[in-house]
Structure formats: structure tokens, C-alpha cells
Amino acid sequence: MSSIVKTRKESLSNSNLLFIIASVIFVLMYAFALIRYPGSFQQFQTFFDLFSLNAPLIILTLGISIVMIGGGIDISVGAVTGLVTMSCAMLLQSNGGSIVGAMLLALGIGIAFGLLQGFLVSYLEIQPFIITLAGMFLANGLMTTIHKDPINVTNESFVALRDFDVVIPFLGNHNRLGNFIPLEIKLGTIVAMVLIVLLVIVMKWTRFGRNLYAVGGNSQSALMLGINVKKTKFCSYLLCGALSGIAGFVYIMTTGAGNVGNASGFEMKAIASSIIGGTMLTGGVGNLFGSPIGTLTLLTINELIRAAGVNSNFQAIVSGLLLYLFIVLQSVVVWLRGNGKFTIMLPSWMTFWKQSSQA
């Protein structure tokens, strides 16, 4: 009897299934890129450049995924990021500007927006879409009020930070002349990676993370279970705001300039990557490992189109098609599973994220 229980296989949860689909498609696409355009995609540098140049987007996607798992939405993230870059640039260009000050300012702005939106959405029960839309307008308006023209930051210590690369000597490629060029990673990549690990831990193994899944899945039953629904929602918005602040600082650390067009349209990109990564807007379903994978999928597609050298308009169209594919796939999978006609079992050695229960 006990042996039967031991060999019982755990069925996958929706979160993990969607995450696996996303990762498989990402791997397949990257493999296709490797075969089709071996020259550029075979280099480690190309892969890590995807991270380096898009670390802010990855961080934003993490934040939006958290809010979406809690059943909300935050469309102000892009504008807040833009506001942070502009204010940090202004601060660094002023006399008393320092990097620590800029970091604190970035976090402060992000947390301030998180506090405001979180309070209005969770405690006053206003529709998150409208409030975060207002937040987007507010951040946008403040940014253009602060400064209209691009600012190039010339603060010495900041420039040193901007140009600082982490060199990994054992990974790298030979260039055309045969010289070995080690891999260089921007600091933003490391920030993004640390945040991914940290937030996955928070969402998997802390009380807040588990509460958030419960609240997003069904806030009524979460309330019945004694979870403080309002506080949990509030915390998710606060976290998302703080992450937008960090993303803003990483953004200016990568580009080194404050510009009105910074991070514009990032909110929709982040939502799209989040959906591709397997987070559902209805809440309660999602895996934070999926969010960076979703971002990378979207970016790889764009890189592929750039490598193919076709009309740049196809980038948006193919991204749309990809989104279409994922959305339909998700809905079909969830529908089939809801009907009980379709189950996926993985062998127990593969379920490393979920220990099979041993009774």
C-alpha cells in the first residue's frame, strides 16, 4: 500500500505547465536561431547582451507578474521608470548628486507610486486599471515637467559605474582574428538575476507569496481562510512600484541619459512578456521564472527579425502573432484541463520544484 503512495506522480499545476510550455518554445526558438544564424547567436555575448540591454524590462516584467498573480494590473510601470531615469539624471547632474543619492531617489519614487496606487486599489477598492492609468499620466506629466530635453549624465563616478563591465574570463568567443574576447556583462544583468532569484524565493516559500497566489486565485476564499486580502494586494503593488524604481535606476545605468522617451511603451511589453511567460491576467496562475523567459522570447524574436533583415514593421507583427499563439495555447490548455480530458504527468525526478508527497 505504502509503495503505491510513494510512486504516485504529482500532476502539474497550471502555473508550472504554462511555464514549461514557455521555456520549451524559447529553447526551440533559440535553437532555430543558432542553426539559421550561427555567426551571431553562437556567441555568449549575444545571449548575455539580451540581458544586458533589457535588464530594466526584465525587472519590470517581474513586478507586473507579481501584481498579475495577485489578480491586479499595473500599467504605470513604464512611465514610473521613465520618471525615475529623468529625476536621477537631474540629481546626478546637479552639484550635490551622488550615486547613493540617486539610488535612494529611484527607490523612493518607485515606492511612493507603489504606496499611492496600492492604497487606492486595495483599501479604497478602485479599479486597478483606472488608478494605474492615472499613475501613468501622473508619472508622465511629472517627467515632462521636470525636464523636457535629453540630459546626458557626466558625473564622473556615475560614468565609471555605467562603463563598468563584469568580465568573465572563462566564457567567451574568438573573434575573426582569432583573439579571445572574454564575456562582458553589465551590472544591470546581475541586478536582474539577483532579483529573479530573490523574488522566486519570495513567491514560493514566504507567507506573502503564498497568500498572494491564494488572493489572486479567489479572493473570497482567501478571505475565508483568514488571509488579509487588502494587505496582501497592497504589498504586491508596493513591491511592483519598488521594482519600477530599481528598473529605472538600471535603465539609466545602462544608457546614461535621461530622456522623455525613456521606457515609453514598456508597460505593454512587460504585460506581453508576462503573459508569454505563463502568468494569467485572471490571477493566481504564474511562475516568476517564466517572466524573464517570456521577455527573452519576445526579444529573441526581435533579434531574429533584425538578423533576417526584413522590414522592421514585421517585428511588431510577429510579436503580435507570437502573443496570439501563446494566448490561444494557454486558453486551450486551461480549458482542456478544466474539463479533465487532458492531464500531463511528469516523472517524479523531474518535479524538482514540488516534492512529491510521501505518506
Binding site: I130, G135, F137, L138, G141, A316, I317, L323, V328
Partner: protein
């Protein structure tokens, strides 16, 4: 009986109407000549006509958005993009038709309506058949749409330089009011008649409140959802038509940019729940005019153009806080405690 119904209707409209009243008062304080209208080249111009003129696309889109919100409990964020695509089709058909006459304009407009319906069917299929959240479903077109419209254009912003389309976007000879205002009015009347003679309002509300219950009562939710999205597609086509004739050229990057946000806002300001169910088109129309008036009022108050967005945001936040259920409940209990009672209670006592 009729009075009761009217009162119920008015209670929904209290919020948008009071906001509108406040804006008018602010404008009058700024300058008493706010309502003054001047006749230039046989047409009326002034603050109010300009406001009506500027808000025409927004009003039309917010009507469609209200229907979609009511039935599908979500918002379509691709309306601006859809209007860009339909107007691109309209412009291309006109440009390729050789001579531009009223007939070719009508044909091109009908073709753009068909494209709008197709776009609506695409979004509707995702929402109704695949049960995707409306915002996610329309995110697809939002991502891809501007590029599609650019590819239909073929080149950067084709110009519509001729007498007839500029009459549609401007002033018709012999009519003292700008044409977009008339077109909007006609559209509103058509929608009002349509909702009066058909069951669509009831069915859309039923589907929005509880799709399963609607199904059990013999209403096909899939069909209703499809229909509302197709109607929104037509709204997009009309809005795109007006926008492109107004500007005289089709700039696929900037035409009706960010109008989807304003349209959703108009629905919310109009006192409609963004979570579906009962809806009031009148509220949305007033909401749309309120948004346009707000922007124009801020400009009139000589607020910096860069700061306008921030003011708008603060305004929206205050509005939403005032109308939020928690604050309303709190105010109601506070009133009871003082012994005043709510407005409704007072009315009952008087009766």
C-alpha cells in the same frame, strides 16, 4: 413611476454631470465669455463648438467601449490601433479610386467599416470562444496594429488633399456647424434608436452580470460578445474616418494615439462599472466630453502643456476616490451618524 425611473437614471449621472458643472464654473470664472460663439466663414466657432469638435472621435469610441465593457467585463485597448487600420484602408481605397466623389467616399467608408467588423470579430473570437481576458486579447492587436496600418499605407503618411474630404473633416457649405459634430450627433441618434428597438442592451447587461445565468435563460453569450465587439469595430471605423478627414493625412504612428486610455476613462467617469453589467451610454458620452473639456480647461487656465497630464492624473484620482464604494459607504454612515441621512432617504421622507 416615470419619475422614479428618471431619478434612478439621474443618480448614475450625478457624478459626470457635477464634474461637467464644476468645469463650466471654473471656465466662467476664468472668463465670462466662455459660451460666446463667433461666425467665421459661415460656421460657428467658440469654446463649446471646439470642444464638441475635438471630442467627436472619443465620444464614438466610448460608446462602443461601454457596450464591450458591459458585456465582456473588460476593456478593449486596441481601439486606437483599430481606427488607424480602418482609416488606412479608407485612405488607400480613396487614393486608388482615381476621381474622388461622394460615391467613392461612401464605398471606401463602407469598406473600412467591413475591416472594422473583421477586427472586432478577431478580438471577439478570442474573448468569446477562447475565453481570454479582453485586455489580453486586444493586446495582440495593440502590439501589431500600428505596423499593420503602416504597411497598408505603404509610405509615410499619405495626404488626402481634396475638397470633399476636407468638407467632411471641416465645414460643409451651407451648414453652420462643423461636420464631425453633426456626424457624431447622427451616430449617437442611430445608437440610441438601435438600443431602443433591439434587445441588445438587456442581453449585453445579462451576459456581463452572469454569463452562465444568461446561457440558462436562452441567451447565447458567445453571440452577444461577438456582436458587441463587432459594434465596437464599426465605432472604430467611424472614429478613424472622422480622425483622418479632420487631419487630412494618415499618420499611422500618431493617429488617435492613446485614445484607448481616454475611452476607458470616459466609461469610468460616466459612472459605469468596469467590471461589466448595467451600463449607461449617456454617462459615457458625458464622460468623454468631460475629458475633452478638462484638457481644454487646463489649456485655458494657461497650465504648462507639459504639466497637463499630471493635473489630469490628479483629477482622475480625486474623481475615482470620491466615487469609490468604500468612501461612499463611509460618507453614508457619517451622514447617518450626524442625522442628516442620504439624499435618497430625504427624498423618500418627502414623498
Amino acid at each position: 413611476m416615470i419619475m422614479g425611473k428618471l431619478k434612478e437614471k439621474l443618480s448614475h449621472l450625478i457624478l459626470p454631470l457635477s464634474v461637467l458643472a464644476i468645469l463650466i464654473v471654473v471656465n466662467l470664472i476664468k472668463g465670462a465669455d466662455y459660451f460666446s460663439v463667433t461666425m467665421i466663414n459661415g460656421a460657428l466657432y467658440g469654446n463649446i463648438p471646439n470642444m464638441l469638435f475635438g471630442a467627436s472621435e472619443l465620444v464614438i469610441l466610448s460608446i462602443g467601449m461601454t457596450l464591450v465593457t458591459a458585456s465582456s467585463r473588460g476593456q478593449d485597448i486596441s481601439v486606437g490601433v483599430a481606427a488607424a487600420i480602418t482609416s488606412a484602408v479608407f485612405v488607400q481605397i480613396l487614393m486608388n479610386s482615381g476621381e474622388i466623389t461622394w460615391l467613392t467616399i461612401l464605398v471606401a467608408f463602407l469598406a473600412s467599416c467591413v475591416v472594422g467588423i473583421l477586427i472586432g470579430a478577431f478580438n471577439g473570437s478570442l474573448v468569446a470562444v477562447f475565453k481570454v481576458q479582453p485586455m489580453v486579447a486586444t493586446l495582440i492587436l495593440f502590439t501589431a496594429g500600428r505596423s499593420i496600418s503602416f504597411m497598408i499605407d505603404g509610405k509615410l503618411s499619405p495626404v488626402l488633399a481634396n475638397e470633399l474630404t476636407s468638407q467632411i473633416g471641416g465645414v460643409m457649405p451651407g451648414l453652420p456647424i462643423q461636420t464631425p459634430i453633426i456626424l457624431t450627433a447622427i451616430f449617437i441618434v442611430i445608437v440610441a434608436v438601435f438600443l431602443k428597438v433591439t434587445n441588445l442592451r438587456l442581453y449585453a447587461e445579462t451576459v456581463g452580470i452572469n454569463a452562465k445565468a444568461a446561457r440558462l435563460n436562452g441567451i447565447n453569450p458567445t453571440k452577444i460578445l461577438f456582436m458587441t465587439y463587432m459594434l465596437l469595430g464599426i465605432c472604430c471605423a467611424v472614429a478613424g474616418f472622422i480622425a483622418v478627414t479632420k487631419s487630412g493625412r494618415h499618420d499611422s504612428v500618431n493617429i488617435l494615439k492613446y485614445i484607448e486610455m481616454d475611452a476607458i476613462l470616459a466609461v469610468a467617469i460616466g459612472g459605469n462599472s468596469l467590471g461589466g453589467g448595467k451600463f449607461s451610454i449617456t454617462g459615457s458620452i458625458i464622460g468623454a466630453y468631460t475629458i475633452e473639456m478638462l484638457s481644454r480647461t487646463l489649456l485655458r487656465l494657461e497650465v504648462n502643456p507639459e504639466t497637463i497630464k499630471a493635473f489630469k492624473a490628479i483629477f482622475i484620482i480625486i474623481l475615482m476616490v470620491v466615487s469609490s464604494p468604500v468612501v461612499r459607504g463611509y460618507l453614508a454612515t457619517a451622514k447617518k451618524r450626524i442625522g442628516v441621512g442620504t439624499v435618497g432617504d430625504l427624498a423618500k421622507k418627502e414623498a
